[in-house]
Amino acid sequence: MAEELSSENKQTEDPQSMRKRRRHAKFYEVKDDEPNIFVTPLEPSENKGEVFEQGLDIEEEEEEDDDENNSSSHRLRRFPKVFDLRSAVTIKDLEEKSGKRVSWSTFSSLGTLGIEDTGTAAGTEAILSRTLTSSSSSKLKNKESVKSSSDIGTEIQREKETSKEVEREPVKSIMKPPSSEQVANNSSITPGSPKKSSESSVKRIVITEPPSKKLPDIPVQHTTTTTTTTTTTTSAAEPRGSSKVPIKNIPTTVQKSSLNKPLPPIPIQDNQPKRPPSISTTVNSQSQYRSFILNYRSEDIAKQFCLIERDFLLKVNWEDLVQVGYTTNEENVQKTDNEEKKEKKKDVKGKGKEKELEEEKEKPRKRVRENGVDKVIERFNLACDWVATEIVLTRSLDDRVQVIEKFIRIAQKCLQFSNFATLTQILLGLQSPPVERLRRTWTRVRNEDLRAFKELSEYISAFGNWKVIREAMRKSIEDSTILKELMKQRKSRISDVRNTGCIPFLGLYLSDLVFNAAVPSFIDPTSSQPSTPSSPLPSSSADATTPLHHQPLINFHKHRTTATIVKRVLTFQTLSRGYNFSIDKEIYDKCYGLKGFEATKLVVMDLDADDFV
């Protein structure tokens, strides 16, 4: 194991993460000897020895961590408990029944269980989180919680690469709300372990089940896992949608449960509200959080974001857009109905036409729910939260400054690539309350980057009806069109040199559509003025008894406007195909599977973050 780990570590680019890994590896190895850990019987696993090692590692880690981290004291306190657990479980059982992985995870889980005070035991949590993350990451890739040692190693490598994932996951797991049905499973918990603590830990981990709203695309795993018990269920029942690897070894023990629990990488949201305090502790304990964006070139990251946003944009179809003004809220439909009804009452003639039109609109409105527009919005919110989360979770001041600078540079690249979606996401994330408050951090950001940020911020100013970004988007459409034509003429390579790609900030157009929808669909013929919102249909209908020319006029301008806006978006869709970047799977996946806490939850942490350094 150790060898594998170390080798894997070498692969990682980041020295810090490498160090971390190595440490872990050591721990794992050392502890192999320990005999009694938890044990739950039942599932045979091939890699028994490894499991033990892992468990040992955990202990050592704690010690080392103590040196490095403040939270070490917490960990020390808990040790005894862990031992208790171990005593309860026999090593043999572990060896026999659980696979290596299982044991590893089990260890972590045991440690958690042992901890009585979740709030105070930051160190333990951190440890758990690490283990969880590793396990979770592995889970992500492998469906089954139980993996062979080799699997673990590979997983570890992955984890190393994505250091951010690892760290985040722990937090998530911690944050997860304690109460879960799964807890019930704990009953099987080995004697000696404090039930309460175990339950709480378990719950946290387990909670991930509910799919996170933010990461819709990632399959949520239902790890019902459970907890600690020996029997747990490995049942495998936990189907993870995404799991690539079939379950090889299913260790029933608690370990499994722990593994499973951590798996869900994404579901941060669900957990947060319930335990903010634990969050902060967790965060504190993880001093090593390092955003993956620091590991790649800004340009490379920006390119992948372009591709991702393009894919989201292409999911939008024009029918969704046409209905935006009416669909934004289901209530909307009702509202219009009510209004129309009233109008109808007043005016028979007017009513009839309106009714028909309205009904036609309403039907489609109702059936549209999960459409491309929703996905774009979801993605947008997630990305904004992610930006803030990456910054706030970075504990070290220096690193945090780096992350901010990096984001600014990525935003610049996005602007260069005419990717206004990611541009706005990053800028909004940087301006979000949790990040904006980090005064000390901002004072250390290089002037050059600050200046750039200030300039970029113009793009997300709503002043003048989003004048700056509108102009920029219009221009990029023109440029792209020109470029395209040039390319056609020369039939070559400009495409290689420059991208014609272009992605809008869709929110603008949605806003336009909604606003336009507020304009009346009919015009009072008696008024020489074009329709104003204030001139309601009813008045026009009142005149209805009169001849034809007194009947309400269809407000063509409104509908033309709608068409114009929709066509604009369609143009962007076409242009968005103009990116000639190739997918870098590694970065793409990371940029796609973003995780983030909502700002409200980050606020709790951000203070810590700034205080901490």
Partner: protein, 210 residues
């Protein structure tokens, strides 16, 4: 294309309005700029409220600019002229991250709900909470229950009772507003009832200073 036309319309609007106002304006009174943000659940009538306010002031009957998320309106009060910069979040309610940008540095906020929809008041409350936590501490917040026309008897259709009942009693909302120190109004953007009052009272608030 459409953008440009929109922008030009927008920009042309402001001067026109300013001219219209000019008659009322005392030469020595400099308009006070007040950034005002409109928040509330989708479809409660935020845009209609603004459009009513802006259009009523001048009988221009100008066609509303599309996407005019940013409108300005001057308002003359007893001793001062206020120029409202109105930031309408309509259509972007679900872009959570945008809200802070809208209410940052805002001196006033109008949180709108729909009196015929109880859920919209809940959303309004959450906006109030967020504003009081994160926005400018001196922000003036007005709570506006819109669509009272739907719960008022309609003269033209006396024979029929109103279609949708009120779901938010005035007293309840008012009590809430008092508790949290909000200005409170009930409005009908459709008929214009109470719309003007919202902006006038905000302008008269002591917190809005020159």
């Amino acid at each position: 294309m459409s953008n440009t036309s929109r922008q030009s319309t927008l920009s042309s609007e402001s001067p026109a309005r300013a001219g219209g106002e000019g008659t009322n304006q005392q030469p020595n009174l400099k308009p006070v700029q007040v950034k005002l943000v409109l928040l509330g659940e989708a479809a409660v009538g935020k845009s209609s409220l603004v459009l009513r306010f802006v259009n009523n002031e001048f009988q221009e009957n100008k066609e509303p600019t599309i996407g005019a998320a940013f409108l300005t309106q001057k308002c003359r009060l007893e001793d001062k002229v206020i120029k409202f910069e109105i930031w309408d979040t309509a259509g972007q309610e679900r872009f959570h991250s945008l809200a802070p940008m809208y209410y940052r540095n805002a001196q006033a906020a109008v949180v709108v709900y729909d009196v015929t929809k109880a859920a919209s008041l809940d959303k309004a409350k959450s906006w109030v909470k967020e504003l009081q936590r994160q926005a400018n501490p001196n922000i003036v917040i007005a709570l506006a229950g819109n669509k009272i026309d739907l719960v008022q008897p309609i003269e033209e259709s006396e024979d029929e009772s109103t279609e949708s009942g009120r779901q938010v009693p005035t007293e309840e909302a008012k009590a809430y507003a008092n508790e949290f120190g909000l200005l409170f109004f009930e409005t009908s953007a459709k008929k214009g009832d109470g719309v003007r009052d919202v902006f006038t009272e905000i302008g008269m608030n002591d917190l809005i200073k020159i």
